[in-house]
Amino acid sequence: MSAEKEHSEHGGAVATSSERLVDLYKKMVEIRAFEEACQKGFRQGKIGGYLHVYIGQEAVATGFIDSFKEGDKVITAYRDHAHALLLGTDPKEVMAELYGKGTGMVKGKGGSMHLFDVERGLMGGYGIVGGHIPLGVGFAYAMRYQGTDHITQLYLGDGAISNGAFHEAANLAGLWGKDGMCPCLFIIENNQYGMGTSVERTTAMTDLAAKFDAYGIENEKVDGMDIEAVLESAGRLTEQVRETGKPYAIEVLTYRTAPHGAADFFEKYREKEEIEEWRKRDPIGLLEQKLLDNDAADEEKIDEIRSEAKELIAEAVKFADESEEPEIDELYTDVYAGADEYTGEE
């Protein structure tokens, strides 16, 4: 899942090539198909626990991870399937994790909220809102300390901004950034709600990007439904952070068209019309229209991409379904490092 990037002679992004856009479209369609398969798996009782899907937000991670360079780190909360897929984890392993199988990416130990693929740069999905933010800042310091030019892509929700851990970590990042020791790109996925609470109902100062002013961190906003706009920000900002070692914050305006989690049945907190309005700006729909308008793809190509994605995900589901549960002995592995014989008896 990797796309060639183009840069103008001056280093800025130029109009994205058709081929690249088609490739990004394909990724987004795959993510959507994956998430829909998850919803189905949950309804069938094959996926347990909590399930948070990324439907409506695909352009965000797709756009930013397009600028990911080997060695960089990605960290996010529990809405993490897309990040894993985009970093190149086999959809089979991701789905197997959700199905609680031993072939899953964390051996069935974490489930949907805790996807890790450290080799590919995915430093995890975390379940406590805001809890992962300081870790991402720590990664950034460590990567500079270790003499690399890698950066952290730190994803967080609008709801997480009200959490104390965010404010403490942002303050640290601003401080360490003064010495070029905090190459951390804060990517605020403002999908308008934290569960059932809208941004207006959670903070009196709703300009989330501007919150970073308080910590001396430069910031801006981007339309998260327009993949080209996201790509432009991503390319420019990841390089800036890499070069300067200073943190930067980008508020990405997007929308979760799916319910918050699989158990959010009633959605009393928003009107159907609002969802419909946003659906008109669905990132996949917008890009599809653009591809068609610019003759970058025809209906036939679109259909082909869609059915290939379906097939890919169907294979992942089949693999997950047919895989074995973890060995019972796995219960006691991975509790302590350097203690393979741990049995729980002290």
Partner: protein, 330 residues
């Protein structure tokens, strides 16, 4: 008069009962109002009581719990919902450093009539960060009261008592049982703290638990009767702090054997405390070492088979009882 109600309805009824009697009672928490409450405990209450009494908060556990402590110090009676107790770690500094102690270190000048409530415990594949039973953690700190009701009647009656109590109460609900039904007394059915309940009478072995594990013990007791002809007594502690030593000791004096069951990890858990109390207060009555049944010593796994292995099972309880009775395990 009693009516059959769900645990959820009974819990809500307890809160509403006190809200109607006492204007100083307010509810606070994430998504308890407009959203209706993640577990629908408070559904509709914002329409009835308005947003000044049913306060939706941002995802700021430390901030809003601390603010609730401040309100309580000035005479309000906040009932704070932790969406789940797993998120209380973010508020634990406020709970432990302020709520539990401010009365003491102010030389008794203030009170903290505060209730913090929410679902506790695991069992539905929520994995490591979302699966905790925190009664031993909060039970450790003098100044806090900790209760864990399992029946609909108790959840209502203990909520009424919790709200009236002038101290901070950690109210641990059996989250997995919100939908279960039972007889609930009408009106004021306040249940005194520090009184255990004999959930099943028996003469051969005492099974001691609280919260959801009480039901596990009741099932185990039935199996022991059917398969082994053993009459197990089941004690529901209900309240971890204050603790009812008398009921416990009386039972062990009768049965001479005890099994103590908890969902949390064995090390430094409530079951250990129970075992210690039994050997201190009923040593001469014991015919066998006190058996402990607890969760596996690992962070909670996601996969269903691992999770089942990690939690106390009926089989573990029956076999622990058999060990205490010196009969063959099955």
């Amino acid at each position: 008069m009693a009516e059959t109600k769900t645990y959820r309805e009974a819990l809500r009824e307890g809160m509403v009962h006190e809200m109607d009697q006492d204007e100083s009672v307010v509810l606070m928490g994430e998504d308890i109002g407009v959203y209706g409450g993640t577990h629908l405990i408070t559904d509709g209450l914002i329409d009835e009581y308005g947003p000044k009494r049913v306060i939706d908060t941002p995802i700021s556990e430390g901030g809003f719990t601390g603010a609730a402590i401040g309100m309580a110090m000035l005479g309000m009676k906040p009932v704070v919902e932790m969406m789940t107790w797993n998120f209380s770690f973010l508020a634990s500094d406020q709970i432990i450093q302020n709520a539990a102690k401010v009365r003491y270190f102010s030389g008794g000048q203030v009170e903290v009539p505060l209730v913090i409530r929410g679902p506790n415990g695991g069992g539905v594949q929520l994995s490591a960060q979302h699966t905790h039973s925190l009664e031993n953690l909060y039970g450790h700190f003098p100044g806090l009261k900790v209760v864990s009701p399992v029946t609909p009647n108790d959840v209502k009656g203990m909520m009424i008592t919790a709200i009236r109590d002038p101290n901070p109460v950690i109210f641990l609900e059996a989250g997995a049982l919100y939908g279960t039904k039972g007889e609930v007394e009408e009106g004021d059915n306040a249940v005194e703290f520090g009184k255990a309940r004999v959930a099943r009478e028996g003469s051969d072995v005492t099974l001691i638990a609280y919260g959801r594990q009480v039901n596990l013990c009741l099932r185990a007791a039935n199996t022991l009767e059917e398969e082994d002809g053993v009459q197990a007594e089941v004690i529901d502690l209900r309240s971890i702090r204050p603790f009812d030593e008398d009921t416990l000791v009386r039972s062990v004096e009768k049965t001479h054997r005890a099994v103590t069951v908890q969902e949390q990890w064995r090390w430094f858990g409530v079951a250990s405390e129970v075992a210690a109390i039994i050997q201190e207060k009923a040593f001469d009555s014991l015919d066998a070492p006190v058996q402990r049944v607890s969760g596996a010593e690992v962070p909670a796994p996601y996969a269903r088979n691992l999770e089942l292995e990690a939690f106390p099972s009926e089989k573990q309880v029956t076999n622990a009882a058999r060990r205490a009775l010196y009969i063959e395990e099955k």
